[in-house]
């Protein structure tokens, strides 16, 4: 199969020493196997995520994403923009949709961009990495590269919010999308298909500002994974990953639970199944070690 190229928007959390840096490591490993070339958008900036709303008004926020689109159009014309972070994807795609939908906003945004000599047309598709995998490769295509099936691991696919709503992946339902389960199955692991909290909210950015309320949500997400027999949680979103993984100690202290469940990215599952090492799969970036994956990776 010919090499596939995409205009890549890595996002802040993917950077070295940032909270989702291990996600990026595993994405690189996965892309290597699938012969995907990710062409970074040069000098990309933060999308402001959803939580940027308070400080930035509508236009400044649109301008941020529009700048990325403009740079992408310039450097990587004709390529789809791909993001791995749910918030990056959402903000960028929303911007594209709104600019195309509203001529007035398009005009004003370009007026703002012109301050830095840029111009946006919003003519590239904006896609999440998972869409690329499912739509451009297909489950069968993805399965062909599996060298070490993840046999015997029970995985709860935690889709979360922003990779699911409001756009959805591959036309799946908002209430019970199956793509993550299908990916898990394709990698040879056992998906927990009746996982209750599959699309529940982890609190997002409110994990910082409203820790108690958010941790109550996170507790339910983890508890439900345990209840349905999962040994591991997999997710496509860096905020979901972080919130569900790193607060387990604090939740245990507060709720007297004994949570200790690894939370990994789909790309880490794929990297290991594709025969990459634990380090290449970013497993050393786990706060709660994914021992079963490490075992398979080291085989």
């Amino acid at each position: 199969m010919a090499k596939k190229e995409y205009s890549f928007y890595p996002g802040c959390s993917s950077q070295k020493g940032a909270s989702g840096s291990n996600y990026q490591v595993s994405v690189d490993a996965m892309c290597d196997v699938l012969d995907i070339q990710l062409n970074d958008i040069p000098d990309w900036n933060c999308c402001s995520a959803s939580i940027g709303y308070a400080g930035g008004g509508e236009l400044p926020r649109l301008a941020l994403s529009a700048r990325n689109l403009a740079l992408s159009e310039e450097a990587n014309p004709g390529q789809d923009v791909v993001a791995t972070c749910a918030a990056c994807w959402l903000a960028t795609r929303e911007t594209k949709d709104r600019l195309l939908d509203n001529g007035g906003l398009m005009k004003e945004t370009n007026e703002a961009l012109s301050a830095a000599g840029l111009k946006v047309e919003a003519n590239q598709n904006v896609r999440h990495m998972v869409e690329v995998l499912i739509e451009d490769f297909g489950y069968e295509g993805l399965g062909q590269h599996v060298k070490k099936p993840l046999e015997g691991i029970k995985i709860a696919g935690y889709v979360g919010c922003q990779t699911n709503r409001p756009f959805g992946i591959d036309g799946e339902s908002f209430e019970n999308p199956m793509y993550l389960d299908k990916l898990v199955e394709t990698m040879g692991a056992e998906p927990i298909t009746n996982y209750d909290k599959k699309v529940s909210c982890c609190g997002g950015a409110l994990a910082f500002s409203e820790p108690e309320k958010s941790q109550a949500l996170i507790k339910d997400i983890i508890e439900s994974a345990y209840d349905s027999g999962a040994e591991m949680i997999a997710t496509p979103c860096p905020v979901c990953q972080m919130n569900v993984e790193v607060y387990q100690d604090q939740i245990n202290a507060k709720y007297k639970t004994k949570f200790d469940i690894p939370v990994v990215y789909y790309s880490q599952l794929m990297s290991v199944a594709y025969g990459k090492s634990g380090k290449e799969a970013g497993l050393d970036g786990q706060v709660i070690r994914a021992k079963k994956l490490e075992e398979i990776a080291s085989k």
Binding site: A18, N22, D43, C46, A54, L59, A115, L118, E210
Partner: protein, 208 residues
């Protein structure tokens, strides 16, 4: 009362709904709510909202300007988009909540001590400074947003979390000194400045 707020009160004396339609992001949709309450039942933070979106919309129509804009309800939004996905009338409720919160903040009516209001503003300041989020500084700013002593307490409570992240190389002390950022930060700042100008000019127009 801020000048902008005063101006808006004068202009829309009769209709808060019209004020929202003209000034709040996606505010034009408010009138389309049919009061079914699906949003209220779909929100993960539902129990903590004093007024769920359904009520906020009703209050806007009923002209309860002060109550809406000073409410901390909208600040409960986690941006999970559940309400948008489920609204039978297709209202972009998440965006309207963001828009209302932003507008309230701009007018100086949002509750000062609302933690998400503070964090969200810090987030914006952080990202616009260098064009990319500096997670370490953001985290520290967050810990100290309620004052120094409170900050030490929060920081201590989160000490283990921080150490864990450092160990996993998902947090870097290097961020304290410079850290990531865009190269063309001048250009970025120019864009944001211009965007803000255009938006404020529009508000001025409404003052009209």
């Amino acid at each position: 009362m801020s000048n902008l707020n005063q101006a808006m009160v004068e202009k829309y004396r009769n209709s808060f709904l019209q004020e929202v339609q003209a000034n709040v992001e996606e505010g034009d949709w408010v009138k389309m709510c049919m009061q079914c309450g699906v949003c209220a039942g779909s929100c993960p933070m539902g129990p903590y909202w004093e007024h769920p979106p359904q009520e906020i919309f009703m209050m806007i129509r009923a002209g309860k300007r002060e109550e809406v804009l000073s409410s901390d309800s909208m600040w409960m939004c986690t941006s999970c988009y559940n309400c948008i996905a489920r609204c039978p009338r297709g209202l972009p409720i998440t965006h309207i909540m963001h828009g209302l919160a932003h507008y309230a903040d701009r007018l100086g009516l949002a509750p000062k001590e609302q933690p998400t209001r503070k964090f969200a503003n810090k987030f914006w300041d952080n990202l616009t400074k260098k064009g990319r989020v500096n997670e370490l500084k953001l985290g520290l700013a967050l810990y100290f947003m309620n004052g120094f002593f409170e900050g030490i307490k929060v920081a201590l409570a989160n000490q283990k979390l921080g150490l864990n992240m450092l160990k996993a190389k998902r947090m870097s002390i290097a961020e304290m000194f410079g850290g990531h950022g865009v190269k063309d930060s001048n250009g970025l700042h120019a864009i944001l400045k211009k965007a803000r100008e255009i938006e404020l000019a529009k508000a001025d127009e409404f003052k009209g």
